[in-house]
Symmetry: C2
Subunit: 501 residues, 2 copies
């Protein structure tokens, strides 16, 4: 006899398979699809999306969820079953709030806004993008009303990326980061220590880069038997199951960093999904908790591991052996310093570990001001530049290098940006906890080894997938809510050492 929970799982499996199929189509679009295949691919993805939405939002799905919930009664909060019910109730409620009319309008505006943005960025002409951004802001406001909120509209949007996290909390944490990070950045600038990264800008053979990227990903613990490294323009990680979690990267013939640190970053994302518990297979729980927690895993591998002294003392000889002409006369310590150079810059995606957070805080504050109507879209460029001056001490010479640099604001996705910086903060807090619980992690890291760290991450974070909210996870893993403190301790120690403060 089939239980109500089994009946629910049947539907969940179907929906998960559909979502993963969309993932494959999307992955293929970025990696292998010939340019002219795009029209058909958009149609195909649209059909799967529509089918999936229709099946999920049907009354019958809600009934299956509630029947299963009733059958489970007061099941253990931590159980897969109770966690799935919690997740599905939230997701079902959200999906039912999204009207078809809104989705259609939103897609139309986003498509045209993206065209306008590309032209505006190319021509440094904010004015032509302005009316589209106004429409996007208004879609965000509409979306916030549709989802509903208690304290402020931004809560409704942030919740979609960082479930259960309030704007006020993030604001308090980011303010605390600013209070300490601005003086640290200024101290580094005033100290004036020279750190050169010119060795990273040399001709590097792509095949050699590929060989080292694979080597480094494996050194972190990424499993190629359950993974794949593809080439794309805009790197990402994606998974079709814990046993098929892929990474992508891009290759520059004369700049080593993007492929190298991009691969480490995406490996962190993919290792998270490779580490979800097998019992979560074919359910939406077999994914990262939230964008922020996901980013904590990628930043952990990219920065805390991949930009550590121990990692390069252990692995630099391998890199050197692949590129003897470029790196034969460089020491591991010089390389370590080169990949940790910090300096104010205009472009978020090129920013270093330390200054990256400023770029996010700026966007977080501007998104709220736009959403609340405190900032008119036409005044965005000025507001942007004022904040750049305050946070980073530089002002971009053009909007192309300023408020027009990111594609994010071509769609109603306010609330996404803060997750990038939250990832840095979560990562530091997790890492500090990990090392305090298992000192072997630190000693291994000093030798470029990650086995103990990855075991800890699997046990404490990866295996749970999406069973808990970010808030719940951070509390159960570290014993405290998220704060800025661990990140500031980590960053202050690391950069004081490098810059001789």
């Amino acid at each position: 006899m089939t239980t109500a929970y089994e009946t629910l799982l049947e539907k969940v499996h179907e929906l998960t398979d559909l979502e993963k199929a969309m993932g494959v189509l999307s992955w293929d679009k970025e990696t292998n699809m010939p340019p002219k295949g795009i029209t058909a691919r958009i149609d195909q993805m649209g059909t799967l999306q529509r089918l999936s939405h229709t099946l999920f939002t049907a009354d019958e799905t809600g009934e299956r969820i509630e029947n299963a919930a009733a059958e489970l009664g007061d099941a253990d909060y931590d159980s897969d079953e109770a966690s799935l019910i919690r997740y599905l109730r939230r997701a079902y409620g959200d999906a039912r709030k999204l009207t078809t009319d809104f989705v259609v309008r939103s897609n139309q505006v986003s498509g045209q806004a993206r065209e306008a943005w590309m032209a505006a960025r190319a021509n440094n002409d904010f004015a032509t993008f302005q009316p589209w951004l106004e429409q996007v802001v208004s879609l965000c406001q509409e979306l916030a009303d549709m989802y509903g909120y208690e304290d402020e509209p931004y809560d409704a949007l942030l919740d979609k990326f960082e479930t259960g996290t309030q704007t006020a909390e993030v604001r308090a944490i980011f303010d605390a980061v600013k209070a300490e990070l601005v003086p640290l950045r200024q101290a580094i600038e005033e100290r004036g220590t020279a750190v050169s990264d010119t060795i990273l800008h040399q001709p590097y053979d792509i095949d050699g880069q590929k060989a080292f990227a694979r080597y480094a990903a494996q050194a972190l613990g990424y499993d190629f038997e359950r993974g794949h490294l593809g080439t794309v323009v805009h790197p990402f990680a994606t998974s079709f199951s814990r046993d098929d979690a892929r990474i992508t990267t891009r290759w520059y013939p004369d700049f080593l960093s993007p492929s190298l640190f991009g691969t480490l970053h995406e490996s962190g994302h993919a290792m998270y999904e490779q580490g979800t518990h097998p019992s979560l297979y074919r359910t939406p729980l077999a994914r990262g908790t939230s964008l922020g927690i996901h980013e904590s895993q990628s930043r952990m591998m990219e920065n805390i591991v991949g930009r550590s002294r121990g990692f390069w003392q252990a692995h630099f000889p391998k890199l050197q052996s692949i590129f003897p002409d470029q790196l034969g006369n460089t020491s591991a310590e010089q390389f370590y310093r080169a990949v940790n150079k910090t300096q104010p810059s205009y472009i978020r995606v090129e920013a270093d570990e330390l200054t990256y957070n400023f770029h996010i805080i700026l966007r977080f504050e501007l998104e709220q001001a736009l959403l609340n109507g405190d900032l008119a879209v036409k005044d965005l460029p000025t507001a942007w530049n004022d904040k750049m001056q305050a946070l980073l001490g530089v002002v971009p010479p053009s909007d192309t290098l300023g408020c027009l640099q990111d594609p994010h604001w071509t769609r109603p996705g306010f609330g996404y940006f803060p997750t990038y910086a939250l990832g840095n903060l979560y990562a530091a807090q997790f890492y500090e906890t990990a090392v305090s619980q298992n000192p072997t992690i630190a000693s291994q890291m000093a030798n470029g080894q990650t086995e103990a760290l990855v075991t800890w991450l699997r046990q404490n974070i990866h295996q749970h997938g999406r069973k808990f909210t970010p808030r719940e996870l951070v509390q159960r893993v570290t014993g405290s809510p998220l704060s800025h403190a661990a990140f500031m301790r980590y960053a202050t120690a690391k950069f004081s050492d490098i810059y001789g403060l």
Copy 2:
């Protein structure tokens, strides 16, 4: 106001998108999926398959088809609309006949039969495969009864691959081929002319092979802006739209033929789908007419073009420039002869253009005997060897090199094999017609150029997609039904020249 035909098209688009999505998942499975991704991929493909079958076989789909048919009235037979209705009525009727119970049992048997076959082939142990083949034969019989037939059970199965073609016709044509091809093969053997293909068996760098495969595919007319060349174990072509028709091949480090002729073969398939008329987009008509007609296009490019003297006189210098050590002392004529060496062999997939047909005729005859109960499965090895002796004058030293060589009989797919040889015959008949209608084709071919030929193929075959049955298409293109004659004229002329008969 939406017409009944538009309402039908909406459903057709949805179903086509789902089918193409399955195609992408399947393509990815063969090309990029990591080994351990297989479990999830089978689940995902199963879900799409089930959704697609459920949507297609719903009563409502039948109503949409009939409403549209009624609205169209006596639309022009050749129109897209009338052709789509004809196709859908057939496909809908067939799909409704397939019971879920049969599909489930068939998949179970096929899965286990495949395992048994792999072991049996590895151990040259037909007896362990025998009970599974008996079940497969029984499934074929059941399938024939389920679909129904007028003259003989094999008709019902053949019809699924070569719509509207009768077993009796194919038998008569294959008998005619045998009557002329057996003496031709014997005459070649008796003449004893030495043709060497040892130059093909040398170390050939894979990157060089890839470069030439791309060059050669483009020389045929394959459009890489709407295509992609991937690497697989078992090569195939597949399309997700006319603007995304992909080929795959495999690479041997010391044998040039598989990658080279495999690429030309798959290019022929893919060019067919690239050439379907844009008006057929997102419908099941945007594909090849049938397996046999599809194979005619791949064989045309692989053999009639790709193994022609003109092609190698034009393109051999390019190949030589990539492989100067291997081919520097070889002439285009020597290379042309090497790639046209004919000799009896045991393995179908390694057979040459001339003897390949014998391998198919043998299987066609044995399938009928098994289906009709004239041949017991236990007697298959003997029957196989007897036919090899009669047709090719050789007897395989083991069942591994005999009746256990192909995977096809692990599933109830009788009726598929003959389409391979039909492809050869269609190709020759089409080509003879093409040259008679446009003599430029022959003069271009003498210079290794295919533009006029491809234009003719587009116009007469490709653009129609699946609008007509194979019988209709051959009649309208060549003015006659399919016969063995053109192929025999082509083969006799070509091989008499090479072997000095």
